[in-house]
Assembly symmetry: D2
Homo-oligomer: 302 residues x 4
């Protein structure tokens, strides 16, 4: 179900506000405020509020009375230094609040990130909408044969069609029965807290999610990673785009040191040193297991 006309009006109303404040504001984020960025077939991400900007990170690091510095360049250097040396607390001084619509199986991964605040739409109190995630054909994959916890090649032809048909038919039937059970038309109507148990994990839920920038970066490092399940990665990617507009210097440092970087083990550091001295290092002489060696090669070979 797309955003209803009433909801669109509520969003438009919120976006028409013009408040005056002495707080730090970020034009790039004002442009995002309240707007629903679409994700998957029915999901979205909306920025509801934010606190702080790049400069707020530096102010906190310096415990300063005002802006603390006039130079943007100084701030960037400080932010890179803080990120490089794992000084996490200044990044905690920025906060973002999102309204997210997402399938339940994605929500269950997401909620594992505990240092955040959440208010989820209550299926004890309210009736869920008839909205289910049905993957696009190009995102229906076979079980991976190399990674027990991932997906491999795209399914094609009949098998893919069969999967799609099952997902659609089972979702429809489950929701029809959900509605039939809670209906009080000619019967008492089953309690919502019970009826919801019939709904599959591809149904959409919604929540308000609030998190500080440090913990958001941690979330993004794990969930915008190529090993994350596609269906949560698209949410992480959408958030990355927003964060890049919100705190450009911090996001750039995050990209360089976390997203784009690599963690080397002591053994791997030793191998790099030996290789730079001209030694031919193999898995056998590296001291690494096969899995580690394969990952190491992914780092040092372009």
């Amino acid at each position: 179900m797309p955003i209803s006309p009433d909801q669109a009006q509520e969003i438009a109303d919120a976006r028409s506000q013009q408040n005056t404040t002495m707080r730090a504001t970020v034009p790039g984020m004002e442009a995002h405020l309240y707007t629903a960025h679409e994700v998957l077939d029915h999901g979205f991400i909306r920025v509801i509020d934010y606190m702080g900007d790049d400069s707020a990170i530096c102010q906190a690091a310096r415990v300063s009375y005002g802006k603390g510095t006039k130079s943007v360049q100084n701030d960037e250097g400080l932010i890179r230094y803080l990120m490089r040396h794992w000084h996490s607390t200044p990044f905690e001084m920025c906060e973002i609040k999102l309204h997210v619509k997402l399938p339940v199986f994605v929500a269950r991964q997401w909620i594992r990130h505990r240092t955040a605040n959440v208010n989820e739409y209550s299926a004890r109190y309210s009736i869920l909408d008839r909205e289910f995630y049905i993957p696009a054909p190009e995102h229906i994959n076979a079980q991976s044969v190399v990674n027990n916890q991932g997906r491999g090649k795209i399914l094609e032809g009949e098998e893919a069609a069969r999967v799609l048909e099952i997902l659609k038919a089972d979702s429809t039937r489950a929701y029809d029965n959900y509605e039939a059970m809670i209906s009080d038309d000619g019967q008492d109507g089953l309690a919502r807290e019970l009826a919801r148990m019939n709904l599959p994990a591809n149904i959409y839920t919604q929540w308000y999610w609030k998190v500080d920038l440090h913990n958001l970066f941690h979330f993004l490092r794990l969930r915008a990673d190529s090993h994350a399940q596609y269906e949560i990665r698209v949410y992480a990617d959408a958030i990355c785009n927003i964060v890049a507009d919100w705190v450009p210097a911090a996001y750039s440092a995050f990209e360089d040191y976390r997203l784009g970087g690599a963690q080397l083990s002591g053994k791997a550091v030793d191998c790099v040193r030996r290789m730079l001295k001209g030694e031919e290092v193999t898995q056998e002489t590296s001291g690494m297991s096969k899995g580690e060696w394969r990952e190491f090669q992914g780092v040092v070979e372009a």
Copy 2:
């Protein structure tokens, strides 16, 4: 699916250990260790490990070098004092680790308690078992007419039968299709991380859950409460029984001050005082809303 013979053997093996330790041990908890206490139709709670006892709470409160006191009575008095005055940190010095099997919709409420450690059975990596929660007839209720977020009278006759039939049929069909989709018999087999989205919220999952006693009490206060959904309350009740054997003095203080007590607002305290002076106080003269007054009457009237 009940505990398999292999699993039963693993439990028996674990229970046959006889280790020697200088750590605090609690005979009442040793009796619980590893055993599966059944909850709902396929669920259970198993104690996997525990740290500390009543005496450990007092030792920490006193930052003592040894037991700190020889007197059990002193310890009980101290524990009651700590509980009464919201000194939460000494209770954090005890820790418990549980293995829990529970329906997904219960797991989703449970996980909202963030100050705990969790490892859940991975449906990206593994195949879930064919086990669904189907409520007993006496736990199929209508939506409450007084509380939007609860259940009311028990459904009877045809309507209850219809609900049961739907839940069973939809669970069966969903699981049949789940199996069909992941099967690699004559096809590639859909990735598990995708196939799981077809499974309804009454399927069982499992996790290891570790929590300190203070946060466990917080969980129990909310979830062993009469307003909690029945399906999570039975887990909370089962844990209450275990905790009573583990830290009897702390549990008894918890029962008196939290489970059995009441939080009065400033207005309610004022009403009690006026009533004790002989004044006839009504909702109108209480300053409370109707909802508050009803709850207040529930406290002061036996």
Copy 3:
């Protein structure tokens, strides 16, 4: 050392900003922004930023697309309901960031509240200022004779004078020696991270402290309480005044249900019921210890 002219200028500059935003703003909080509210002899509290308002609590509770309701009265009723039933997550959707200057021994109590973000002025990196908390004569008390963890009657005459003299002289000497040790005038100068160990706990430190409203209320309930040490209570009181301007409905509910209310044990509830039926209940027949009974009388007797 009061706020320097440079710092005053930085504050004035920050207060002269006029930014436009679509975010929720609270005029009462804008008036507080950046201004230093004095606490104790050299301390202060400054609001650096805030997120959300009363309406944001309700929006999150409803997971709504816009304001969610037009009626302030509805919002107030919902907020009271949420507070009364321990629905804590909607209150977590508001956030405040403070700049606080406070004595080290106060900071050490304060930091025990873990669910908050902190950046403290670094005495490894920087030189602390010569500022020490010296209590006003009316806040120099004897050890309490009824409460091992509090203070009793005000010290008078010679003893008070002697205490003041000691605190002043020792602070001065400690700071003189701190300066002498780190000086690089004619010597190498001791590392700051070492020299600081000579400074007593009444020296002032500073930090940025960010916390959500739910956890702030928890802090305030414990620290604005009459059992809290005076020197942290004055900070809590100053924050209470700010919060009352920020989220008036939430603060009013907090005052009624937490600050002004009382937690009754199961035994206490039973006593109230018996008393309301006309029974004369004494400590002996109450089932309570002497300490509990004394506290209970404090609740039921005006």
Copy 4:
């Protein structure tokens, strides 16, 4: 003040217990239990309790009913895999409780690690002992000239002697005055919560500290690092020795992947690749700042 005869007796009593348990026990940790490992001049670390072992990490990762595997080698491989891929939750399934005696300025750094449980000796309730950290001559250093937040060369001769004299004299005077103020001999005696403010940051305090293995590793990575202040690093080093005996496989993985490893930025990965292809990379062509380049050289050059 060393451990008193009474305290030594309490420790000996605790160590003479022989309890039988079905829980996992680790002989290497039993040997540590209760014993005070000395740190600095008056400090110590004592293991009070522990939960879990290497095998418990794997059991939780597998959500298994029993040991889950018989093979130690399999467990080691799994633990290395979990550590390498930042699967942190299985490590949270082990817990340790320590009794630590440490100078206040070390305690203030330590407490910044928020995901832990703490009970500190109360200076509101109790009288602190006359014990101050006085650095050994070889640990009295000048302020670093390259790192604003560290120490440089060792102070020698007169300057060092002067520092030692100041620290000793000021500690003695501060404690004498503390005692004089709280004394109720011929006066009322100042409240302890006030008198403590006269004590400098090198006085010793004590606490019980409980933490899970994942968060302990995070603490150790930052505090056993060469950039950490010496006085906290010695505590971290002492804990490393204990953890190596408790969970040898996890500790070994931690050593390889965290303590001994390196985090490379995207730019650094790019430089390594170019260098391995034979390019001569300099700071100018690296895209790194001078500080980053210096740190990068420390990684790739033996």
